[in-house]
Symmetry: C2
Subunit: 335 residues, 2 copies
């Protein structure tokens, strides 16, 4: 097992620099912090947890509450949280709220009872709809800080890590307009309420800023008939030459459907969709994707929480909202 | 909130029958148990947890340890565990071992410390490779039962829930042979060691039982070049008329690649792959899939653990191994 001392020697810096870099101290420059973390990751560096928690009288454990375990984006965020926490000597305990307010409350109670030092969570759908926040505020008042990510409760004073959903589809649509696409459709599943609306607005803004067309939105209710809906839509609207898809399946299905009805991608029609790298391989040509950097969201949330947990006695830190930008990764479904 | 009494009235059975059915008592017939559970699920029945745990001096919480949160199959198993546990009044706390023996040990320790009544877990790769079992045996000796699923440690005396990996590909290959396919290839990513080997053996057995051919296996190391590998393989072996894919991405990619090089699916070539329902929509024609019933695996594991946790004092229950069979769901990529 590698020690702080060995890391310091190899990097030619002091032990205290390594320690501070791993604990996200602002005293350490970005480049140095990055070098330290990369080497620590490479050597699979693990802090001595027993010694640490004895010294600090903390559990060194973070509670994570996610709304839906079948959502790949959330699973990747959790992966990012886990990796960052491990690097900094923290354990993770996860509960799933299943989009239920009651389960979310139960999970907070279950873990707040001495098992964890703080929480990272994404708010359940039911909680968002009912606008309940008291269980979050109570947790924070009891001395357990919360970092919210993706779906956040704006009224709660806590740290937040969010995605630029609006800008992501705005930029994707602009990209297709720059290809001289004349008739761009936005395909969405109505599933993700708040995030979905922001994405639709981004598309609408780009269209109305640049063209005189009416925005054209295809809403699909159930995932299982996406193929059929997209097919009949493309057959009916022969002038469609661009697709911005609000979820990963719709993007893949749009390409495969277009090819199936004899269109050339990207010559006749360009497609951009949300999705991870692995999903982009599910179509020929490969999908140009909007990447959300889920792991980065997770590590940013973990960094922020740990920074707060390790504040010196009496020190304070204002709550912050960090925006993790999406990237447009060009592949073969656009010009 | 619906009560046991109301459920009993609506079903026209006694309160004790409802309670026993929800607790998987063997005194209750299968049909009755099913009716009770369905109604309880419909009304979102929740046992009064505080009363229960006070009475029984238990945490009414199950610890789940999964090796990899980015694996969709495991996420679905977790979903199944969660659903069954909620129905029976249990909470779930999850830790991720990230395929590491050390993390697995840490997670067991972390949760065994009074947080949970027992464990459901799938063994980390590193633990399987090193054949370590002492941490499991110690946990069981300390009075916390374990149910293992999918990747199990055969040497540990505990309940297990497994999948018929061998039979699944044996049957899929037999199916293609029944279509008079002459030249069937098995495509696999070497990723999942033990499970992958069983699947390959199932294919081998079907081929050698039925034909005089040598089995033909395409092994792909990294996921990112699956498309390229499959394409050059199909271009080189023009006589291939059947594909059995050991993971979901390979199946989808095989169809899209075959279509891309001008083959007709299923006229020229049939494809069967592992995968969930949602993945099968990612290709045209849709993929005929081997379904693993992950949620059922999860609920079977939760049922078995809860049954053991709720044994009366002095009662005993032999350890059991339950096999959850896969199904072959015919779609349009086979004749």
């Amino acid at each position: 097992m590698v020690t702080l001392k060995q890391l310091a020697k190899e990097l030619n810096v002091s032990i205290s620099t390594v320690s501070k870099a791993l604990n996200n101290s602002e005293e350490i420059g970005k480049d140095t912090a990055k070098r330290v973390k990369e080497l620590a990751h490479l050597y699979n560096y693990k802090p001595n947890k027993v010694a640490l928690s004895l010294k600090q009288n903390k559990t060194k454990t973070i509670g994570v509450i996610i709304p839906n375990i079948l959502n790949y984006f959330l699973a990747k965020v959790l992966f990012g949280i886990e990796r960052e926490a491990t690097l900094q000597g923290y354990n993770i305990i996860t509960c799933v709220s299943n989009e239920s307010l009651e389960k979310e409350k139960e999970s907070l109670q279950l873990l707040a009872n001495g098992s964890v030092d703080g929480f990272i969570l994404s708010v359940a759908k039911e909680t968002q709809m009912k606008r309940e926040t008291e269980h979050f505020n109570k947790t924070i008042r009891n001395g357990l800080p919360i970092v919210m990510f993706d779906r956040v409760a704006h009224d709660v004073m806590c740290d937040k890590v969010i995605v630029d959903d609006f800008e992501s589809t705005y930029n994707a649509t602009k990209r297709l307009l720059a290809e001289k696409r004349k008739h761009i459709v936005f395909i969405t599943t109505v599933d993700n309420v708040s995030v979905g609306k922001l994405r639709e607005r981004g598309y609408n803004k780009a269209i109305s800023e640049t063209t005189t067309h009416t925005p054209l939105v295809l809403k699909i209710n159930t995932r299982n008939n996406t193929s059929k809906k997209v097919k009949s839509f493309l057959m009916k609207h022969k002038t469609i030459d661009g697709v911005v898809a609000a979820d990963s399946a719709s993007g893949i299905i749009s390409i495969n459907t277009a090819v199936n009805i004899g269109l050339k991608v990207p010559e006749d029609i360009s497609v951009i969709g949300f999705g991870s790298k692995s999903v982009s391989y599910h179509s020929i040509p490969q999908l140009t994707t909007i990447r959300q950097h889920a792991k980065k969201i997770g590590s940013a949330a973990a960094q922020q929480l740990i920074k707060r947990l390790e504040l010196k006695k009496g020190a304070s830190l204002e709550t912050s909202t960090k925006i993790i930008k999406t990237s447009l990764i060009k592949s073969k479904s656009t010009l």
